[in-house]
Symmetry: C2
Subunit: 329 residues, 2 copies
């Protein structure tokens, strides 16, 4: 069966570090650290992102009362070429490391892969992490910030943020219960400024497969959230789900629409990036679970597996959506 | 315990596709396909690499008599920005996909991660794959080929090759028995033309940890091979191991030294790239296991987690080495 059922994987702690724009957004009170200096005290955007990752892990371990050497495995990634933001941060830690690349779906990929290592019984804990930084991403995928280029309304803002989770085999209040790896879909979209539309197809594919294969229904969940479709992609996903006859019973939302305030923040279609779903899960969703406001959450991490080169070569944008189910024990 | 012991993970089939230079090397007779056109019939180096990956998976499935839709999970990666060589190839397949980034250690990372999903019992099979292409890598990491730049003697040649493995929970002649994820090490090396030296430290760290934690000794294995240290890195690793008092009993070798002929091929320090260890495992080591010439192999996949940007920013080269043990049943 394709849907993975974890029996013994708990999320004991979460931490998040974000930039100024995210700190000014609706979840501002919930982040562990808001850094107003986009450079995080470093000399380059890439080093800034690594420093953000490092601080997020430190905060996670300090919340959990765990020493660095007690971390048995770290898994994660980011959007930078060769995943260097996470790699350079992991270099400062003594634990083994598995680099993942799922574009903006990396948080869900890290949770499911880390969950597998903890479920196996070989590891008692693992840190799952995902990160993105607006400035390093703009330079990487679009234009240097200094160009001041205009962005179309369907474009999204890459979240400056890192979310980290401590997976453990010892019971805790929040449990990782299910996972479903995504399949790569492409919808013929070649516009790198419209990634929500490219990813909507993949999100719908994973959601349909999950309910089909798990035997569960949307009414079993309190929140069903995609990672970073933004307004444009979310509308398309809604439309596609309706056409396929699946009613998400008003539970459907998107981390990219929750992380910023459309009325007061200039974010076009919404948030995106590996840090988007990681930070919303580590704050808003986490708090709702802890406060018993919700019991079961489905997170469908969405990722666009393009590179600047494939865009220049006029290739379509392959997209993927990895699903994890998280539950209040 | 950090060393993972698999009870129920078998490698039923392997396949490999390489370029002209690799085909002319000492393992030339063993590859499934040698493509003399570096473009693999495509228009760009990046698309060529994707096509190579696609062909390797096709060959694997045809050897195994498996239809594409029967593959339950594909895991792997490559050296390109945002791992697009593998992503675009996976787009043509109907199976779920997990993107990994371990630089040249990706084959070992894919085997151990895929092994975990198969061992769990949720998946009956998984395809582990790793790929690199000399031309796409040169453009990515160094200079466009048209520059005709000179390379120093310690530099290595990125292998044009893809190796794929079918992991199954049903008994087969070859078994994946153990795995150990690597820790990131850095040896203060900032020269991107000397990656063997950068990675030697990580390889030694993983080898020492493995024998320390597993209770096994080098005499338990017939071949102990690093992934792509090349002559320079291999000598350094040998020296470091001696200093640490570990004698590998003449079993120690390196895929980067086995894939080319130093006497007749102009390859400086040897082969490198994700495809290097993947292709040597899928051919030379695979055949030795099948023919019962050897019984137990340790592969220590080595990876340099740098990017062209971190090199320009004068950062040291973080390296990692993931270990897998493969055994004739």
């Amino acid at each position: 069966m394709a849907v993975i059922t974890f029996k013994n994987v708990y999320l004991s702690h979460a931490s998040s570090v974000v930039g100024k724009l995210e700190g000014e957004g609706p979840l501002g009170q919930m982040y562990d650290l808001i850094e107003k200096d986009a450079y995080f005290g470093k000399e380059t955007w890439e080093q800034a992102e690594s420093e953000m990752v490092r601080r997020t892990v430190n905060l996670l371990l300090s919340k959990a009362g765990l020493a660095e050497r007690e971390v048995e495995l770290m898994l994660g990634g980011d959007l930078l070429n060769q995943c260097t933001a996470t790699g350079f941060a992991a270099m400062t830690l003594p634990s083994p490391y598995l680099g993942l690349y799922g574009a903006c779906s990396t948080a869900a990929e890290a949770l499911m892969t880390g969950g597998m290592f903890v479920e196996s019984g070989f590891y008692t804990n693992a840190v799952a992490i995902a990160s993105s930084h607006f400035c390093s991403s703009e330079r990487q995928f679009r234009f240097p910030l200094e160009y001041g280029n205009q962005r179309p309304p369907v474009s999204q803002v890459t979240v400056t943020g890192t979310g980290a989770f401590l997976l453990r085999n010892a019971p805790a209040e929040i449990q990782l219960t299910k996972a479903l790896p995504g399949r790569i879909r492409e919808a013929g979209i070649t516009d790198a400024n419209n990634m929500g539309a490219a990813m909507a197809n993949a999100a719908v594919d994973t959601i349909l497969r999950f309910f089909n294969e798990s035997g569960e229904s949307p009414s079993d969940y309190d929140i069903i959230s995609t990672g970073d479709l933004g307004r444009e992609g979310f509308e398309l996903a809604n439309e596609l789900l309706s056409k396929c006859g699946l009613d998400l019973c008003g539970k459907f939302t998107d981390c990219g629409m929750l992380i910023y305030d459309y009325n007061t923040q200039d974010v076009n279609s919404g948030g995106s990036g590996c840090g988007c779903s990681a930070c919303v899960l580590a704050t808003l969703f986490w708090n709702k679970l802890i406060k018993r406001e919700v019991k079961k959450i489905l997170l469908i991490g969405t990722g666009a597996l393009l590179s600047p080169k494939t865009v220049l070569q006029k290739q379509p944008i392959p997209s993927i959506a990895h699903l994890v189910a998280i539950e209040r024990v």
